[in-house]
Symmetry: C2
């Protein structure tokens, strides 16, 4: 694929395009106009045309977009056609929920291992993958070419474990711990701070209630 | 509390301030300067001063911010001093992870019920809260003044369940299903689309690998 300069704003929208196009594919839709896509996604049709023109267009005037082709091309831009070895640290409910997330593999995320501190989980398997103990983490990361570490552990341990992963070659962290990791700039960190999401919800409810208290 | 006009950009940063101030409190820090807060949060000190001035300042030149006071005031703005009755729909791993999230209660989110379609879960309790079957959902929502519904169910059922919740008085949805809900505009929806987060991670790794392939 050629290198292209795509703005961060477009990049942020691509996963959403990918999700919608995937839903259309599941429903057997072969072509869609930017107008129809616009109605479904609640984005203007001109925004869609502009976004997709950024990387070649894929559409023909009056004929719409080929859903399968567009889905595949956006998948390539997102890197979903490449494989990434991934491990999950923390086999609690959240770690198990992610381990059971079947779309991982279809998007190139190959779950190689799950780690926990709880000795009672030794040898337990999730989707055929054994839960290992933390003392095996360092060697496992080195020997299995692990690119992504998923942190579903309490914040008190998150920084220490993240550093251990990075020191042993991990390039990216999907961080669910409620803290920032302060890793070197060349490490990719994608934070999912659920508590902050809940606070935004709380703020919006509070504001709504204040605005409507005299209704 | 007086009504204030605060920009959405500031609002987005408030949960992060709240989290940092909470960590400082846990470590017994009573006062912090905007410079020190700036170093920890990787936001400029002038940004911090500007943000906090938006709702009254709370700081004194050369004396820093009172951590406890600032934490409490931001909490009020976020509505965390008020109680909201909440239910979780979907008692799978993700639903259970959220149900076990102990910060819920301390932030005013009172977990009233957990629902699932799996009859084997009938009567099972999580943190003392019984898992109920979906046929009881409608009456439960009406009788218990439920304000927030958390959707941790597959996307195929999410829209239907969200509509049922809204029809029976729920005002806000914390949506973990991989789909948009298309609810009326007066309903507050906070989406947590984990698959999109993972795709952003994938994109960033792919771009990084391309940039460094000749290293």
């Amino acid at each position: 694929m050629e290198e292209r300069e795509i703005s961060q704003a477009v990049i942020r929208r691509l996963p959403r395009y990918y999700r919608y196009l995937g839903e259309l594919l599941e429903h057997g839709v072969e072509r869609i106009s930017s107008n129809d896509l616009s109605k479904r996604m609640k984005v203007t049709a001109s925004q869609i045309r502009q976004d997709l023109n950024n990387f070649g267009g894929f559409g023909q005037q009056g004929y719409g977009y080929n859903v399968k082709y567009l889905y595949t091309e956006i998948g390539k831009i997102l890197g979903l056609n490449e494989n990434h070895n991934i491990i999950i640290i923390g086999a609690g409910n959240l770690g198990q929920a992610l381990a059971n997330y079947s779309a991982f593999e279809s998007r190139g995320f190959i779950l190689k291992g799950i780690f926990d501190v709880n000795p009672r989980l030794t040898g337990v398997t999730i989707r055929g993958i054994e839960i290992r103990m933390m003392e095996d983490l360092k060697d496992f990361v080195r020997e299995n070419d692990i690119e992504i570490g998923v942190l579903t552990i309490p914040k008190t341990k998150a920084v220490e474990v993240a550093n251990l992963l990075v020191d042993n070659g991990v390039k990216a962290i999907w961080n669910f711990a409620h803290t920032d990791l302060n890793l070197p700039d060349n490490i990719i960190v994608e934070n999912v701070h659920l508590s902050e999401s809940l606070m935004r919800l709380s703020y919006n409810i509070t504001r709504y209630n204040e605005e409507h208290k005299n209704d």
